[in-house]
Assembly symmetry: C2
Homo-oligomer: 316 residues x 2
Amino acid sequence: MKKLDEKKIIDIFQRKLGNKKFISEDVEKFTLGKTKIIAKTDTMVQSTDIPQKMGLLDAARKSVIACVSDFASKGVKPEYGIISINIPKSISTKEINNIANGFKKACKEYEISIVGGDTNEGKEIVFNVCIFGKSDRIVTRKGSNKGDLIFTTGPFGYTSLGLEILLGNNKKINNLIKKSVKSVINPKPRLDYGLKNKRYFSSSMDSSDGLSTTLNEMSKQSKKKFVINKIPINRDLENYFKKHNRDFNSAIFHGGEEYEFVFTIPSKYRKIIIKNSILLKTPIIEIGYVELGKGVFIQNQNEEFKLKDLGWKHFK
Amino acid sequence: MKKLDEKKIIDIFQRKLGNKKFISEDVEKFTLGKTKIIAKTDTMVQSTDIPQKMGLLDAARKSVIACVSDFASKGVKPEYGIISINIPKSISTKEINNIANGFKKACKEYEISIVGGDTNEGKEIVFNVCIFGKSDRIVTRKGSNKGDLIFTTGPFGYTSLGLEILLGNNKKINNLIKKSVKSVINPKPRLDYGLKNKRYFSSSMDSSDGLSTTLNEMSKQSKKKFVINKIPINRDLENYFKKHNRDFNSAIFHGGEEYEFVFTIPSKYRKIIIKNSILLKTPIIEIGYVELGKGVFIQNQNEEFKLKDLGWKHFK
């Protein structure tokens, strides 16, 4: 989840561990026997990833969900999981039960069998989840072409507001607030949509580090220009920000933790993927298109503004 | 590494996560495609597993080694690894380099390719390692039969003395002290020996939770009596304990962290496994035999004493 300044630290690990031609991808791949295995690990740390008002059941569930989200973006079905937890000595049986129920819930929702793990004593709660599946081919982050259309699997921005509410003292409860808090504590990656539509995707990436980070990474890896002509925000959230005289771009593009994904398709697949979005009740949003060039730009009337990568920049 | 009271906590997780017929084993198994995958995860936590005098390079290396040790006991070759680390904000580049070098060292020694992982901010250092291999069959903990011979892959007890020295203020340096400290900071699981001899083993188990725990678990799973007629202690360590008027049984049987393994064989394989121990320079020690009955007993002259399971009992 919250990561250190990756540029520096990951560089050191990559150099030392000899992965020279490293291309950043949502999942890990390795072959054992004749099987191409896909794996994803994610760590949730109490002091940096779990707001105090978030229960342990939701936190444990979300630690699995974070991995599922990456599998969803690549169109790979998770099959097995290994869970390691650190818990402080002071933990209660009730809390252990909540944690176990959270893992159980996520595994039931996404049909994952837990095959093992370990339990350790530590100063703070840490959930480390690793999930496994198989796939002969995954959609990469780098495959988009000129003329492709860019989509997201859902609206953005609720998590930023939700986190603000969870971390603050807001006492007001209305539908928007409920929805925003729920987006943080109960995210639902669009696994079905990824599984059923990956054949149409030219590229894809999980968006949980923030939409601006995702779009910039996909643009960079594809060596193409991404033009965004529609902001994926719902009316209720837009009205909220306008009413409070606040700019919503930061929430939409730089918040992160949406656990949606971004994908590009050749325009000929527009009809079928929209049809599938209705069938699977996944509210996909067409946000722009791919051009020759580089960088990510937001098109507003006749002007273009460069969208910088300002997602999880970790350890400011 | 150091684990909570497992009876209670693991029971909750097993009940919730639906693994009803759970049999404790050194490694996890699952099938993807046609490949039977073997996995092992281990977590090393700074506050409970890393003595202050142990460097981060050795600690990082050991976090991989702990997993390799389980693979060694089952005769499975590790091929890939995923590493997750938590590090506090205050960590230095030098420390990051030490950590990366420790992982690199272990991976080079045991020919493991790291395929990914993640880096997170946390209150204390945590290394979570998961390694992968494949095997159609593993040696279980439960396969021993009446008349089988019981062996360990090395002498026990050095780690207990080594840990005592690392945690204390001992200023004296002699060969035994060096050897004992080295046994803690630089354990070397007998992977080659496990790989080349597993066909002869009727059962086996990694001993890092303590020899008494290992023997009791193997006896219990096999529903056989284990009779120990030779204590796997080297002369130098035995002399040290005698000189200081200390009982060495606790160090030998209940210390743990040796990263050796215990195995049983039908007696007809005695010659070949001893021959292989010379070839592979692995000092195996025959410590007893398997009988009908239950429990683990130390045979001393004509008397037998029950050996209780007093290894890592976690969270006293």
